[in-house]
């Protein structure tokens, strides 16, 4: 499955550099400086509005489910520590404790909201930017060639790697290894057994890719040409200025009023 899909939203037309700067850095920083759930909720609505504006396909929308579940599951860890506030329930299990308090709930809710905001921002970035544009954007930040190449290879192969892992699981299922039943330890052992075939398959695949890269001139010392090298447009300048202004305004308000 490819994350990027072509469409005609303004965000789709923006330069990869602008999108990384706005959605990957500036807007990502803001939730870190938000302490009140209501402020985070407002930002979440803003992100959700932007997300619905890019009109992702149904299959892409489904990605929000595992992300949401992960956020909720991770937030439950706050209930195994004392985060202060009024205690509603407290249980001791020797070394472990479980507590529901106003502090724990606040931390958990803040965590979920931040996770959802960041997920939406990253989805906006990845759904609207082709791998090629993403790499060009990273290059503009001054990242070295090998790093941008690594990113582009990861974007090229991630879906194939997932497919390979799934095939390995299927092959093991056909030998009687059931990943859907058994206790936690049994399942963990069964999943761990996948590592060896996955590792061998990937080593062989990467060998081919390594040969292919060498045979395509990767590693040469000469200056590289960029066949596709889009320039920043007026939309980019406008979007970067707006995002920078919004970030600065929020940081000022946060500093003044602790919102």
């Amino acid at each position: 499955m490819q994350l990027y899909y072509p469409s005609n939203s303004i965000i789709h037309y923006m330069h990869g550099f602008s999108k990384i700067l706005i959605f990957g850095i500036l807007l990502t920083l803001i939730p870190l400086f938000m302490e009140q759930p209501i402020s985070l909720l407002l930002l979440l609505f803003l992100c959700a509005a932007l997300f619905s504006y890019i009109r992702p396909p149904k299959t892409h929308l489904l990605l929000l489910i595992p992300v949401g579940l992960l956020a909720v599951m991770m937030s439950t860890t706050y209930f195994f520590a004392d985060m202060g506030g009024q205690v509603y329930l407290h249980m001791d299990f020797g070394y472990w404790m479980f507590q529901i308090s106003s502090g724990n709930i606040l931390f958990a809710v803040t965590f979920i909201l931040r996770m959802m905001i960041w997920s939406l921002l990253f989805f906006i970035l990845l759904f609207t930017t082709s791998p090629e544009d993403l790499v060009i954007g990273l290059k503009r930040f001054g990242l070295p060639e090998f790093l941008t190449l690594a990113v582009s290879l990861a974007l090229r192969y991630w879906s194939l790697m997932i497919f390979d892992v799934k095939t390995v699981m299927d092959a093991q299922y056909c030998r009687g290894v059931d990943f859907r039943s058994g206790g936690l330890l049994t399942r963990t052992k069964r999943f761990a057994s996948l590592l060896i075939p996955v590792l061998f398959v990937f080593l062989k695949r990467f060998r081919t890719t390594s040969f292919a890269l060498t045979l395509k001139g990767v590693g040469r010392k000469n200056k590289r040409t960029y066949y596709y090298n889009p320039r920043l447009s007026a939309i980019d300048s406008w979007a970067i200025s707006s995002a920078a202004l919004l970030t600065a305004a929020w940081l000022t308000l946060q500093w003044l009023y602790k919102l």
Binding site: L153, L160, A171, Q172, G176, K216, G217
Partner: protein, 581 residues
């Protein structure tokens, strides 16, 4: 163009050389077909031409030299050779390193620092040469195997190399993909004069196109001859099974006017027509008397599919499997054929329980398939994947074969007995302490089959068991599979190799567009010549030849064909004698 001077190479850690000292010259504009048994040194020869040996293969040592267009390959790093030698590797997916076709084509030139205007000029030229203009903006993930290899060839041509080296580029493709790649290469050789070094196992397909054949085995060049003279050499006859056309022509004692072997069905047909004189061949002769009886479908149904439908995503409007009804009887040997995406693998995944049908019933022994637990199901249906590497989880062949039995919690003594039985049957009992990943491709496949066979499933489904194997290993593999069938296992074979189907399998199911188009004895299936072509299925040479001679019922094997010809010639001779009297 390419010159090997006293060249040999080996791994630092290895005792035996990968290539023994050899001298070889390949001239400009030649189409050289390199073939031979797996592990014989064909890829080493390729990698010595493009410089991956010794520069990318750590620990590889060499003596002598290889020069391409006057450049010493071993003293030049492969990335500096890209404008002299272009290489296409075997794996169509993982050798494409960029997201879209256009990016893939421009990538190497960007790395070489070629100006944008020049890249544009070459892009237009190559898109025309390889006819991939409509694909330029598409993602590599959306392409078929054949299209991917065409893109890989086009990416080579962007560097304007003088030599194109192709290392088994069609090994993982379906017949259509193979045809697409062969057409492209032949066109480049014929129209544009490229020097081509083509490594492959498929003699039936490649031999007619080559101008010269080099057979490599055990690191040595065993033969270097024109294709029509290749099998004049006894060493080659011992090493390589003949392509079907050559085999037939030799059995019938037919030679081309130049004294060589006919290489195509058309050439053999022409020679046969000449031999039969001006008399028209016995068009419509009935072949049925010569045909061995197909084993009747007997016994109880072991697998039944009733109105099974399937689609991968709930929101999809098109069904991947349209309503399918199918019965597989105990002890049957069935082939499922069809082009890529026809639904063969999906159907088998539904049978093995890897996928659940959207509607309909899959029954094993009359019981709902999903009522079996995974470990119960494997006793009824085993599935051997195309790539054995997906299966191996243990460090030795013994442990690997025993793995599934341990999951079933069998006693150690029983496990030992079963492991030894199946490894002996498949002739891998000498490798019990070897690491399965370090065996040859054919041996790895046999270990994969053994690990499923040890579970004693009644039905064994094999996905492309002969892909990537050389002709000899392919015959070996099929004789092992036939042995399993004769021992009473029900065999379902997914394959693109029509010669295997014609030679070994009595029942054939043709799938297309997620539907079973035909389900009949193999002979009846191959009797649908035109219909099969419409479904992109190529016929084995012997079947093509039967039709070319105007027979109403095709021969499926060389032996059948020869028996028919003997009878036909006998009839002609008798008729001629009658006229004389």
């Amino acid at each position: 163009m390419i010159r090997f001077d006293n060249y040999s190479c080996r791994y630092e850690s290895g005792k035996e050389p990968l290539l023994h000292t050899l001298n070889l010259q390949i001239n400009p504009g030649e189409f050289v077909f390199v073939t031979g048994p797996s592990g014989g040194g064909k890829s080493t020869l390729c990698f010595s031409i493009n410089g991956l040996i010794p520069n990318e293969m750590e620990g590889s040592l060499y003596e002598g030299s290889v020069t391409v267009d006057g450049i010493n390959v071993q003293q030049t790093f492969p990335y500096d050779l890209v404008s002299v030698v272009g290489t296409v590797l075997q794996d169509p997916e993982w050798q494409l390193v960029r997201g879209t076709v256009k990016e893939e084509l421009t990538f190497a030139l960007e790395n070489m620092g070629v100006p944008v205007e020049e890249i544009d000029r070459r892009l237009a030229q190559v898109a025309e040469q390889v006819q991939i203009k409509p694909l330029l903006l598409r993602s590599s993930l959306e392409l078929s195997g054949g299209q991917k290899q065409r893109v890989a060839i086009a990416a080579c041509l962007m560097m304007q190399p003088k030599v194109i080296v192709l290392d088994e580029p069609t090994a993982e493709l379906d017949p259509m993909g193979k045809e697409m790649v062969m057409e492209t290469i032949c066109e480049l050789h014929r129209e544009w004069g490229y020097t081509v070094v083509f490594v492959d196992h498929n003699l039936d397909v490649t031999l007619p196109h080559a101008s010269r054949v080099i057979v490599v085995a055990n690191g040595r060049i065993i033969a270097d001859a024109p294709p029509s003279r290749l099998f004049d050499q006894q060493a080659v006859r011992k090493l390589l099974p003949m392509p079907q056309v050559v085999h037939l022509s030799r059995q019938l004692g037919v030679r081309s006017p130049d004294g060589g072997d006919p290489l195509t069905v058309a050439e053999l047909e022409e020679e046969l027509a000449r031999r039969l004189g001006t008399r028209a061949p016995l068009a419509g002769t009935n072949n049925e008397q010569l045909i061995r009886d197909e084993p009747a479908r007997s016994g109880k149904p072991i697998i039944e599919l009733k109105q099974v439908r399937f689609k991968y995503k709930k929101h999809d409007t098109d069904l991947t499997i349209k309503p399918v009804d199918l019965r597989i009887m105990q002890g049957e040997f069935t082939a499922i054929i069809g082009h890529n995406g026809a639904g063969k693998s999906t159907l088998c995944k539904l049978i093995t329980g890897l996928l659940k049908p959207s509607s309909g019933e899959v029954l094993i022994h009359g019981k709902q398939a999903n009522s079996y637990q995974a470990e119960q199901r494997v006793r009824h249906v085993g599935f051997v994947f195309q790539n054995p590497d997906f299966q191996f989880v243990r460090r030795t062949v013994y442990d690997e074969v025993a793995y599934g039995l341990h999951i079933q919690r069998l006693k150690a003594e029983e496990i030992d007995v079963r492991v030894r039985q199946v490894t002996k049957l498949l002739n891998i009992d000498n490798y019990l302490n070897e690491h399965p990943h370090f065996l040859s491709r054919g041996e790895r496949r046999r270990v994969a089959i053994a690990s499923i066979l040890a579970l004693e499933p009644e039905v064994i489904i094999l996905d492309e068991p002969t892909t990537g194997l050389d002709s000899l290993r392919c015959q070996e593999m099929m004789s092992y599979i036939r042995k399993l069938w004769q021992k009473g296992h029900t065999i379902i074979l997914l394959t693109h190799d029509m010669r295997v189907v014609a030679d070994y399998v009595p029942r054939t199911i043709v799938m297309s567009g997620g539907q079973i188009q035909w389900d009949a004895p193999t002979r009846d299936i191959f009797a649908k010549k035109e219909e099969l072509h419409r479904h992109q299925i190529t016929l084995p040479p012997v079947v093509e030849l039967s039709y070319a001679l105007g027979w109403s019922v095709p021969s499926l094997t060389s032996e059948e064909f020869i028996a028919h010809m003997d009878r036909e010639e006998g009839v002609i001779e008798t008729a001629a004698e009658g006229v004389l009297r």
